[in-house]
């Protein structure tokens, strides 16, 4: 475990003693100090943990550098369907931490972190658009890449690659109609 992130995880465990963070390296490496670490949180506790990580002086993760969704359908040994991955970076303390949340059908929903990092707005909209995971208390949860009347969430694993006819659904312009 990298020397920088150890105290952060210990701090988290002390602060939220009721949560099992199950810290694990993202990728096991020979050089232990180069490993990046990840903690797991339940959706109901997410907002409290994130606020703590942002505001506590020893953590001070000022930047949410990425927020991504994962669909674990048919994934080996996966217990939950959807995962949301937050990648946090502290510019002042120079450390990184990943936070994972898992949600399930029906009605997958996690609290929005827009009030902590405003930059999460579009990233959460993208996850909603592509995976159909709702973010409660998001100020403007609209689709971002597809249009509003699009019905599916195309990055779900059970969505066919060639779509359900959306790409054929236009009016045809002939030379007469133009």
């Amino acid at each position: 475990m990298s020397a920088k992130i150890t105290p952060i995880i210990e701090l988290l465990q002390k602060q939220f003693s009721d949560i099992d963070f199950a810290p694990a390296p993202l990728l096991e490496m020979k050089d232990k100090s180069a490993e990046q670490w990840c903690v797991h949180v339940q959706p109901s506790k997410l907002f409290a943990v994130m606020s703590f990580l942002r505001s506590d002086e020893r953590c001070s993760f000022e930047q949410l550098s990425d927020l991504a969704g994962v669909d674990y359908l048919n994934f080996p040994k996966a217990k939950d369907r959807y995962g949301i991955v937050y990648s946090l970076l502290s510019l002042s303390k120079e450390h990184r931490l990943w936070v994972k949340v898992f949600v399930n059908d029906p009605n997958p929903e996690v609290p929005s972190v827009v009030s902590i990092w405003y930059g999460a707005t579009w990233m959460e909209r993208e996850v909603w658009d592509m995976f159909g995971v709702r973010f409660s208390d998001h100020p403007d949860l609209r689709r971002i890449l597809t249009w509003e009347s699009f019905e599916a969430h195309p990055l779900r694993k059970d969505y066919p690659l060639t779509g359900r006819g959306e790409r054929e659904d236009f009016k045809v312009i002939t030379r007469d109609s133009a």
Partner: protein
């Protein structure tokens, strides 16, 4: 004098009428040739460049290949001033209505080049988000093959449009063919020896 029923008397052309008809034909012919000549040498493209093919379109416009040799260097970004739409690149499902609207906004007469594998067929992007060929929803005149097409190939496509303009004359685009029959005429004859490849 009462009205003569139609068809009761064969129409006879007077001498003056004959002259004026011939004269107006002559004027029509010169106008047609002149208008077509100027029209084909001043095609103003609308660069609808949505992906990597657009880079090659820019190269075609730049000095080395110089589309200005064919009078088509005036890329206009407003469809009202264009008569040749070059659809360069893959068209996503969200872009297709935009493309159609731009096509509708172009003034008559207008022509469309579908440039590259993606615009013509969807290319390798056989996914939910990419339209599998703009010709499904738009009348396309010339298809330019390649991924991306070399600038020479695009110039060949522009020249094919020029040939269409020259041959068709002052025809409203409603009266034109659907364009499937129009292909780039090869200007190079590939010499294959007899019996080769057997």
């Amino acid at each position: 004098m009462g009205l003569t029923p139609v068809g009761s008397m064969p129409y006879q052309e007077s001498k003056e009428e004959f002259l004026t008809t011939k004269l107006s034909h002559l004027i029509d012919l010169t106008r047609k040739i002149g208008v077509n000549w100027s029209r084909k040498n001043s095609l103003w493209p609308m660069p609808f460049a949505t992906a990597c093919c657009g880079i090659e379109l820019m190269a075609t416009g730049a000095s080395r290949y110089d589309i200005a040799r064919f009078g088509a260097e005036v890329m206009r970004f407003t469809p009202r001033q264009c008569d040749l739409m070059i659809c360069a690149g893959r068209v996503a499902i969200k872009t297709m209505p935009v493309l159609q609207r731009i096509y509708m906004q172009m003034a008559e007469p207008k022509w469309v080049i579908s440039m590259g594998a993606c615009a013509s067929t969807g290319g390798v992007f056989d996914t939910y988000a990419v339209v599998q060929g703009v010709d499904q929803f738009l009348p396309v005149d010339v298809y330019v093959p390649g991924c991306p097409p070399r600038p020479e190939t695009l110039l060949e496509g522009v020249m094919a449009i020029q040939r269409i303009v020259e041959n068709e004359g002052l025809i409203h685009s409603k009266e034109r063919e659907r364009g499937m029959g129009l292909v780039v005429q090869p200007t190079v004859q590939v010499k294959v020896e007899k019996g080769a490849g057997k």
